[in-house]
Symmetry: D2
Subunit: 369 residues, 4 copies
Amino acid sequence: MGSVFGNNIKLSLFGESHGEAIGCVIDGFPYGINIDYDFIDSEMDRRRAKNAKLATARTESDKPEILSGILENKSTGMPIAAIIKNENKISGDYSNLKIMPRPSHSDYTAMLRYDGFNDIRGGGHFSGRLTAPLVFAGALAKLALKEKFDIEIAAHIKQIYNIKDKYPNNTFPTYEEFISNYNKELSVFDNEAMNKMISIIEEAKMNMDSVGGIITAAAFNVPAGFGDPFYSSIESRIAQSMFAVPAVKGIDFGLGFDFVNYKASECNDLYTIKNYNNIKKVETKTNNNGGILGGISNGMPIIVNTVIKPTPSISKEQLTLNIETKEEDTLIIKGRHDPCIAVRAVPVIEAALAIAILDLCIDMKGKLL
Amino acid sequence: MGSVFGNNIKLSLFGESHGEAIGCVIDGFPYGINIDYDFIDSEMDRRRAKNAKLATARTESDKPEILSGILENKSTGMPIAAIIKNENKISGDYSNLKIMPRPSHSDYTAMLRYDGFNDIRGGGHFSGRLTAPLVFAGALAKLALKEKFDIEIAAHIKQIYNIKDKYPNNTFPTYEEFISNYNKELSVFDNEAMNKMISIIEEAKMNMDSVGGIITAAAFNVPAGFGDPFYSSIESRIAQSMFAVPAVKGIDFGLGFDFVNYKASECNDLYTIKNYNNIKKVETKTNNNGGILGGISNGMPIIVNTVIKPTPSISKEQLTLNIETKEEDTLIIKGRHDPCIAVRAVPVIEAALAIAILDLCIDMKGKLL
Amino acid sequence: MGSVFGNNIKLSLFGESHGEAIGCVIDGFPYGINIDYDFIDSEMDRRRAKNAKLATARTESDKPEILSGILENKSTGMPIAAIIKNENKISGDYSNLKIMPRPSHSDYTAMLRYDGFNDIRGGGHFSGRLTAPLVFAGALAKLALKEKFDIEIAAHIKQIYNIKDKYPNNTFPTYEEFISNYNKELSVFDNEAMNKMISIIEEAKMNMDSVGGIITAAAFNVPAGFGDPFYSSIESRIAQSMFAVPAVKGIDFGLGFDFVNYKASECNDLYTIKNYNNIKKVETKTNNNGGILGGISNGMPIIVNTVIKPTPSISKEQLTLNIETKEEDTLIIKGRHDPCIAVRAVPVIEAALAIAILDLCIDMKGKLL
Amino acid sequence: MGSVFGNNIKLSLFGESHGEAIGCVIDGFPYGINIDYDFIDSEMDRRRAKNAKLATARTESDKPEILSGILENKSTGMPIAAIIKNENKISGDYSNLKIMPRPSHSDYTAMLRYDGFNDIRGGGHFSGRLTAPLVFAGALAKLALKEKFDIEIAAHIKQIYNIKDKYPNNTFPTYEEFISNYNKELSVFDNEAMNKMISIIEEAKMNMDSVGGIITAAAFNVPAGFGDPFYSSIESRIAQSMFAVPAVKGIDFGLGFDFVNYKASECNDLYTIKNYNNIKKVETKTNNNGGILGGISNGMPIIVNTVIKPTPSISKEQLTLNIETKEEDTLIIKGRHDPCIAVRAVPVIEAALAIAILDLCIDMKGKLL
């Protein structure tokens, strides 16, 4: 509950944007997993802003210090704790933040929830900075999923503002195709779409505005027959994890909301048999249900789409309320802001998916893997 | 977990479509709530098929027998258990169901998950019939929410296939406006849209096909400052509850996926002050965030949209796989089926929302209400 | 939480002593388990009063009706719901019960907790009657433990008042030796001790008084290496389950409180190797730690002792408080009462242990057993 | 689960004895609590060895660094994370520890549980060192309990080996009387008993042996009517928390196991009225039930006794098993060890109690305190 996730693993996130450190504890992480530090670094890197035109992150190293749970490069089965020190702490006055809450941000609601005692600087615990330990935890989850279950997680930007990505050959891509995008400027399949997205983001930035996006993530090789009905459906598990990501306002699976535009006879996923090296495997001809039926995996890729709203912190002048005078007042949010946080959210979404899938797998196969 | 929901309440659903009975236990339900049996009946009624042209429910009375937790028409604070006997049980042979799984249904995945031991008749525990105890639990949750918190829950059909509902005056309706639709053929605001929806459903039925829909539900009067960050965000809580409803494949809040089409300067919800009988209340001019910021309520209506996929059980001939022969085979699903389950899902979605909000409220205000 | 137990299974108890029915739902029970109805009946029987001199149970059949989760005598993996109808319901006036709370009972505390809305008749939800569904759930748990893990659960009365049972040959008995007591008047190894216990109970009954007892339960064949540190230690799990049994006021493992009388050099369990059909097995020479080290099983029998306080409902005249007059007043509790509830608690304690161990095993080995 | 405790708070413990750091995260800690650092220091101090003759702690400063959740000396409502760096880390070879497991320790069981991947040095995550962050969390819980509920927690050593403490005037002491012992050599009421205990511990130390003890803790001023039936009974909650403390092998409430020696007519707690400044308060004349009836508080002090087994690490030569040769071998545990860990466990037991009671209070009164 709160900042804690999972049934058999327990991921506990902590820290505030301008406090001493942010970090996480992962309780119940499987033992004996090889910890690939280069992979962890590369995941942390993907979350950082690469292109000054497209994102404006605080220039912090965001290097997790691992305090426990790993010995001789293998997980011990004990809680893994890691911290990331905050280098750019602000010690100045921030009382005005409480008086002039930023629109569409947590400033006002958190103030009510915590009776004004919460640390509001930079969004405090609600800051996007907390996605750094989330990506760290996700990287570990990916390592465990790969080593123990051969499950792989990837994502791409499906849409930025009105520009949509396209899949090569109109087929849902493989894991390898997904990760081949990771060294591009944006994790997008179609280069033409990518360039248009870049233009739109640059334009938003120039206008001191921001845009949102849709990210599609997939879990490959989840064995068929994993999951539960009702409240532990794979959808329920993933959704709980995804809505922890700041700015996510919607989630759907497979066709998702687009199901409304089809008749059953057009969108039902028909079963078939495929041959893989003379091993017959039951598959569906289409994957409109995103790999999940009745809350349980059917062996097809699990496909999940999430929408990231436009970063509410914009430099453009906005009206807000002065809490003290109870009158509307003009707000100018200083500092530099991401014109499209969806760009950097790709590995965060993957992390949220990986963590949910790892918890699912341990539910199914037990702690003695 | 599994068929159990909640942090401070625990709703446990049980039963199979063709077993002895279905039902639920609600642990932690508040004490002293007046149990309005007429209201419960009316909620159960809304879930049943009213119009033979639009839905084909089993003609069962679906009358919950309350076994515990209520004394002299008031909740005792003890677990409330209720059962609904299955009147139309099938005792015949059903072995063929295991051989020819229905496309886009849980038949195949549940068989793998439970190694074939699950009761597959009529979908078993995965049947839409399980939404009957869910609506019962939702009715109780609504009574508690109204009595203890003055919170009200309602929903309407936002879209069926390509037909969208419209709000009167283009404003998000009030609770009273929402419930004024409940005696219409469909819970839709715009009568013209409603009639078109009816035609589409009738056509689908005639073609032995089905269509899906989008339902928008709202929670009115949730106090500002309720909720938590991350995994207990209001979105995470509601999503976990909603994805328990069979056929739900997506959920979003406020503008939801439509956020992608806006710039922050166009969709940020600006604060303002409104006067209600000389009481000043902080509101937002728009409610694009669906009443939730940072996982916490801001006092505006909580707005949640869910998509219901077209009922996969259609009478139309479909290809499926014969599990024994490992070859494709033609499937004809006998019996009568709902051509648009979204029609009857309206009170189910409300129930899922009410239960999540009640759990939230007890988290915030405690068990000693 | 509340009346709900477990991490991977969720056992939900419901019902009141004089309501319609009592019962339980077991969510997450393993699929494919052979349901031996005779065994379930025999367990329910063990909980009933056999000897009118030693116990005074309501003469109800206490036959569980199974509503879901079992098909063709095998568990389906779906929630198992069962109800036991209350036959001896009282419909008379019970308002005086709220005015004159019985000493050492839940009457007064429950009234405060539920603001007087709880059903106080016969103890309501706090009644010992709720142990009937607990024994039912325990019987199922035992069947699953035996079939999937070869784990067996048994118990005996270790002490009644000042009379202590003795083990044959001063060795901790085997499972077979434990269950050989089940057809005796009391589940006691030493017949001399048993006869003395019977005398003491009869004397207590004659004096309109009651006595308590200590029950020792054991789980045999729990594999070494099951468990977790800290809050999911086997001790933490079992203790949470045991303290749900009414009248239990203490629990310890192995030597338990008696550890205080030893030095480490006298009570440390030294390791050794034993040969079983040429299979070498690590054991400890003594089992003072009751099969648990660091919260994790070591392969020896898990041994747990619980104390059951003297039944507080006695026929003897007692002083209590008249809540209305706020003055002390004389209370005479009518009806017949158990002079030693510990006698009938033996299968209840076993059930509480079996349920905790089953949840542990699923944690370790997963839901796909 | 695992190293995570609580329903509305989530305490997550992490770290290994010879790893980088140990620590904890407390999610859901109430906002606005004044953080008294001197009090925290004094609690940490109580856990450290004061008297070289009675205890042999690693001479580490054990100063928690707070990373999050506190701003301007007040809790923010966000997760509080704190770490304690390990100063005396061992980097040498420890492979022999895996071959020769210490009797009655977690060495062998943890090795099986984690397939040998766990950090075994100094007990790893199972080390008594982990009680340092537990005491830190307990200190915070005490501050919140005092400020928000006026609840106070204290403990004393009830027994060491065969020496029992005595209460002044044979009455259960007040909170003030309890804490007046805290500057004594041992937290014991009766000085004569204390001196005998000291002799016994010194003797055990001289003989390279160890002794155990019983600690009685109390929670004062818990309002009547807090708690739940069955699995969330106050006993179940406290027991789950207590059995997380290493070396605890038993727990009971009030008379506890001693109930077996009484008849109901002798031990039932009779109600009475007491006058406090003209305010009438319902009390019980005795408190044999330790303040809990039906799992719910009755307003009397909650009294809980726990037994701490003799420290299994003794310098005396012991037989153990050589895991490689599968033969018995002589073990000499090097280093200095506590001859009676119960001495330093007093504040740890208090912490475990405080954390359980805080979680209970938030359950009852909600997160918006």
